[in-house]
Symmetry: C2
Subunit: 477 residues, 2 copies
Amino acid sequence: MAKEKKFVESITAMEDDFAQWYTDVVKKAELMDYTSVKGCMVFKPAGYAIWELIQRQLDDRFKATGVENVYLPMFIPESLLQKEKDHVEGFAPEVAWVTKGGLNDLTEKLCVRPTSETLFCDFYSNEIESYRDLPKVYNQWCSVVRWEKETRPFLRSREFLWQEGHTAHATAEDAQERTILMLNTYAQFCEDVLAIPVIKGRKTDKEKFAGAEATYTIEALMHDGKALQSGTSHNFGDGFAKAFGIQYTDKDNTLKYVHQTSWGVTTRLIGAVIMVHGDNSGLVLPPMIAPTQVMIVPIMQKKEGVLEKAAWLKDKLSNFRVKVDDTDKSPGWKFSEQEMRGIPVRIEIGPKDIEANKAVIVRRDTREKIECSLDNIEVKVGEVLKTMQKEMLERARAHRDEHTFVATNYEEFKDAVANKPGFIKAMWCGDEACEIKIKEDTTATSRCMPFEQEQITDTCVCCGKPARKMVYWGKAY
Amino acid sequence: MAKEKKFVESITAMEDDFAQWYTDVVKKAELMDYTSVKGCMVFKPAGYAIWELIQRQLDDRFKATGVENVYLPMFIPESLLQKEKDHVEGFAPEVAWVTKGGLNDLTEKLCVRPTSETLFCDFYSNEIESYRDLPKVYNQWCSVVRWEKETRPFLRSREFLWQEGHTAHATAEDAQERTILMLNTYAQFCEDVLAIPVIKGRKTDKEKFAGAEATYTIEALMHDGKALQSGTSHNFGDGFAKAFGIQYTDKDNTLKYVHQTSWGVTTRLIGAVIMVHGDNSGLVLPPMIAPTQVMIVPIMQKKEGVLEKAAWLKDKLSNFRVKVDDTDKSPGWKFSEQEMRGIPVRIEIGPKDIEANKAVIVRRDTREKIECSLDNIEVKVGEVLKTMQKEMLERARAHRDEHTFVATNYEEFKDAVANKPGFIKAMWCGDEACEIKIKEDTTATSRCMPFEQEQITDTCVCCGKPARKMVYWGKAY
């Protein structure tokens, strides 16, 4: 019993130290671990299985909008990376360089892709000739490398997994439409599947992607009141097309430049799930991305018939991702372990339950216990999982709304950043100097100019000049 | 019509130049292309979609045997690569080295993984403590890099996609069992899904993996009579465990070394599909890995009701991967294009068919035309696809058997290599000198010592000394 208690006690409470709580959960739920390769992580089975579920469900949504998957090389020749000026300035300081291949020095060094705009542009410049070749709506699932100094599991590491979509279109309107379509796809996915509500908006010029005309973002609020940029979609206009010479012959027989977009989400989404839904017992997984949705725990499992009934129950629940924990650990230990791993539903079944033809369903998020007849338990479990998925989103939305504040002047703004963890809505004049001052004064950054604008005041919260843009501000990961 | 003919004519006939035919098919079926990155390829949508289908179906089979997916870093520090002597000797000459990260030189250079035995060993040395932690049966889907000089689409490139399984077991028996289980999984997958029959066997010591105690292989025969190593499974014994100190406390409380395996297949399997099933009209895809299984071609599509009926038919066939080609190309052009892409079944439907409540199903492999009532066409299409899958395997097996020869002495052997493209079964004394001599004299290599042995003669086909091992020999990719 002492040992069992320790399993749970060894997690730091999130109220005491949120960062340490996060690290503890990642470690104890066996999602990820450090390796001998500095700054690089290993995705353990429980962590990778979540990524597989995210990947499959997001990929289905991509394909429903006409996306096709491809795979391009992981190396980018230096000369290719340098073709678009803003882009190389943004990425060159943080790439890893391959300088030797086999036993020889390379004549031109290759960077390990930090992102693949340049490769896709090079590819498209050969692929696209006529308006008939457009649009190209390609995506790849892969890993990328950015030589970060500080790393944190899922949130920032030197190598991470992601998807990157890269598209080419005949017109600026088509490119803009795809940019917003993918942002909406991400937002809907976060709500429906991850149970995470997001703010959709546009990044300020200071925060936009290197080489983009406009960057759009979805921003989520973590349990500690910090923001997490959870996905981005960029409209490049024809900037890259001009740098790479990507032209097509239009119906009117004239040569035109294509208009491009790119968009991506990363394994950071798993970090968001942990920080939005977790509690002091560990991880809480939304049913739709839980590798194990239901864990059956036999009680007094050595008694005749208990394990058999548990196996029968598993069969009955085969529409779900279900397991039986028949290890020789005590039920209490099993409960703690499964709570740590965030398994949405556990079902307790012992001799007395079997006699009464019932079992006890326990929800991970609310701990609610539901007695249920074995006859129609598969229906009940389906309902419980559905309700849990829905209520997790509702709770996350309520938490976000409770932690979204309005600042009408700079004193209120500074007070909010200092004392009220969360989003701050405030007006901005559009001047980068104010963004810089706000960051220096408070460490808060502009998260986005939301699509849903409100006119809070008519002056900039920082400089007092006329302002028409409302911005979400906050401390961020 | 001239243009249409050209589409097909521009493929080299396989009888004239098999290598050129292969390149033509890869290019014209739009599977893959070269890039500005020397030796690296791009998987285009049609090629990557085949890989996705292979991946999903193989992954399901892995998971059914208890495999769990993980993801380890793409970089290996030099010191880690060097821990197992044979392994580093095998791989060091062909790896790419990262020597700079961001703006700084690295203190220790990192190789881009050519394979991940060393990383998994390092990981397992921290993960495994007790017999309770065993077995570990992990796999990852990723890309690896080997600095090859000569490259060919799907068969050999500097970066390629694969899966690599890495397992650790308590006993030598468990490791051997897993090694063979995975070889059998690969063999069954090739037959069931790719319609490619394979020879299962063990590699000679000369041909085994760097660091392995034993390497097992599946060998397939291409249409031109050359062999393709299509998957391998290695038993490492405790060699890596000793080099990396991977020990566990057994039930008897003593420290023991684990026994390990690894196994992998690559995108080379797509090369095998092309070279086993293709013909002079292009690719022929087994239905189970065809991204589009059925293409509906409306005839006289401008006539009222034709496109509507095609759309209705697509709906009716929604259990299959089905598309309608309603582009403004002529039917003849569409037929050629779909044959090139290897789409298993096309369905022609025009005004007369609609009037007669029927359509024409055309098989890609045999060109057989089947008239079918629209009422139960979804049943018929299912049957045709199933039959095609089965007959493709049968044809490939017949071709392989017809191109498998026996050599009882060295003259027969040399004659066979020179004049009869295919496998040669012949006895071998076990001496590496004979393998080397055979390769020098004939360019044929030992493919494997098959599990199904036959005693052809009792002397080595090369040196005439006593021999008990029958070996499959052949020229290989």
